[in-house]
């Protein structure tokens, strides 16, 4: 974390510090006297010259939100999306050297500010798009293979600990955020936002590096959450049995999850398994 601006620390500013402070304040719409720093030239006025930078700042960050939240933009429509982007920019100027992180607080913003907070699907859809981005460039790792599991002795199974790939994210939806995202991606009308039941999703990067997402049953959701907590295989089977109400059925569900997860690259070759 860098220090506060010199102004905030009471230190006397140098000419360069003052100029940079005024420039940044102008970009954020806080300081109209920045034009005093600009030399008169033929052609554009100092005001027009500073506006070029101010406009570029706003356009650049809005474009990041448009690119990272394309389906949310379609769902909202141009007018509401512009309103959202302007409000977000005013509240959350970028603090990261990477534009990739600029929209990280968008889901929280949408769930806390009118008129967006009245529509829970917006925050969920924004979060879903953030998770897709996080999965896209998450760390690589050596993937768990079926042969590796088959080599484990039967008596060791209850204590093995599975490890999720760094790209794996689990999403719980109260609204049809993912279904609506899919519909918009396919240029069709989104379904009603309300769901009859909570829906669970896994977002992960597949073996071919493509980011994908899949619906999860409640049983598989509970298993994955147990794996995420670092619980051993025996506990995962118990969690599955608790959901299904049957020990044998629970174990079967876990094995199905393992098979699907290995095929799709959801698990790492955990050190705890070696």
């Amino acid at each position: 974390m860098q220090d506060l601006w010199p102004q905030a620390t009471g230190k006397i500013m140098s000419t360069l510090e003052q100029l940079q402070s005024d420039f940044i304040a102008m970009l954020q719409g806080h300081n109209t006297s920045f034009t005093d720093h600009i030399a008169q030239q033929t052609g554009l006025s100092p005001g027009q010259r500073s506006e070029i930078y101010q406009n570029a700042y706003q356009i650049r960050l809005k474009k990041v939100l448009e690119q990272d939240h394309e389906m949310l933009g379609l769902y909202l429509g141009d007018e509401l999306f512009d309103q959202m982007a302007e409000s977000y920019l005013a509240l959350f100027p970028s603090q990261s050297s990477s534009l990739r992180e600029y929209g990280e607080r968008l889901p929280d913003f949408l769930s806390a500010h009118t008129p967006f907070k009245e529509h829970g699907i917006l925050s969920e859809m924004a979060l879903f798009e953030r998770l897709l981005l996080r999965a896209f460039d998450a760390a690589d790792g050596k993937l768990l293979e079926l042969a590796h599991l088959q080599s484990i002795e039967q008596k060791a199974w209850p204590n093995i600990v599975l490890q999720l790939h760094h790209s794996v994210h689990i999403l719980t939806c109260k609204y049809s955020a993912v279904e609506s995202w899919q519909a918009l991606k396919n240029s069709t009308s989104p379904p009603p936002p309300e769901l009859n039941n909570t829906q669970y999703w896994i977002i992960a990067r597949a073996r071919d590096k493509r980011t994908g997402f899949y619906p999860l049953s409640e049983c598989h959701f509970q298993c994955l959450m147990s794996i995420k907590q670092g619980l051993p295989f025996g506990f995962i089977c118990e969690a599955a049995a608790h959901v299904t109400g049957d020990q044998q059925q629970g174990t079967l569900e876990v094995m199905q999850l393992l098979q699907q997860g290995i095929e799709l690259g959801w698990f790492l070759q955990s050190s705890a398994m070696q």
Binding site: L16, Q20, I38, A39, Q95
Partner: protein
């Protein structure tokens, strides 16, 4: 830390994600690629998957957009640490960033904001350059930025400022000829005067790019083909200088890869014969 000139490696392209698969599939006749450093401040996934394949076949250089070396805030060592880790992983031939400020305190404008051309800025940049180069343990090449304003406080023009910075620190520059043209149009100076004022020993790399012309002013968008006026400046430059690493840079509105390759071929064709002898094999 004194600068060391990078090797002359010929004609390169800015590596952009939309061209990854075509480059891997076709092995185009490109001498080297330049990556945006910050795009690889991520742990893994497709960016690294593709870059690792491309860097097996081509030399890579790194070009940053967020160092904000001219900022009067404390040096951002978190950023430098990420950059250093990426350098270690990529092993680029050289690294560059922009002569500007982008951030102040916690605020990041994500723009390349011009410095005032003053003695204070020269002193500040000289100190910053020393800190950064010592931390990274390698020279940092600085690119001139486009600008739309000049400051009341400026005590010299941009090219005098650059030449003096080179004189004091030994730093080298990545001259973006498009940026020079854009600034020349916006401030009504002769771009040749700029190019003539920078000592050959101070020039490590050239960028050629496009812009958007609004008549009353020009905006550096890097989303258009290189314009005739910039080609003419490059032609004149190439015929009066020893070989300089030259690159086509496109940042948006990406055309078919063959169009970018056509621009690169055109750049090669304008350069004199001694620009075709590369040190790097």
């Amino acid at each position: 830390m004194n600068s060391t000139s990078p090797p002359y490696v010929g004609f390169g392209l800015g590596l952009r994600t939309c061209y990854f698969e075509e480059i891997i599939a076709t092995n185009p006749k490109v001498d080297w690629f330049e990556i945006i450093s910050e795009n690889y401040f991520v742990a893994g996934g497709k960016p690294w998957h593709y870059l690792s394949q491309i860097k097996e076949r081509y030399p890579i250089v790194m070009h940053g957009v967020s160092m904000s070396i001219g900022s009067t805030s404390d040096v951002n060592f978190d950023y430098l640490d990420k950059l250093k880790q990426t350098i270690d992983r990529v092993q680029p031939l050289w690294i560059s960033d922009h002569l500007c400020f982008s951030s102040l305190g916690d605020f990041n404008s994500h723009d390349l904001l011009p410095m005032p051309y003053t003695e204070e800025s020269l002193t500040h940049l000289s100190q910053r350059l020393s800190i950064v180069q010592d931390y990274l343990e390698r020279p940092l090449i600085l690119e001139n930025v486009s600008s739309y304003l000049t400051y009341q406080a400026s005590e010299m023009n941009e090219w005098t400022f650059l030449a003096e910075l080179h004189n004091r620190t030994g730093c080298q520059f990545l001259l973006d000829i498009n940026n020079i043209y854009v600034s020349a149009r916006n401030h009504q100076f002769d771009p040749n005067e700029f190019l003539d004022a920078i000592p050959s020993s101070a020039i490590a790399q050239i960028h050629l790019a496009g812009h958007s012309d609004f008549g009353s002013h020009v905006i550096d968008t890097h989303d258009q083909p290189v314009c005739d006026a910039v080609w003419e400046l490059f032609l004149k430059f190439a015929n009066s200088h020893t070989p300089v690493n030259t690159m086509i840079e496109r940042d948006d509105n990406f055309p078919d890869f063959k169009e970018i390759m056509a621009e690169l071929t055109h750049a090669r064709s304008l350069a004199p014969s001694n620009w075709k002898n590369y040190e790097y094999a």
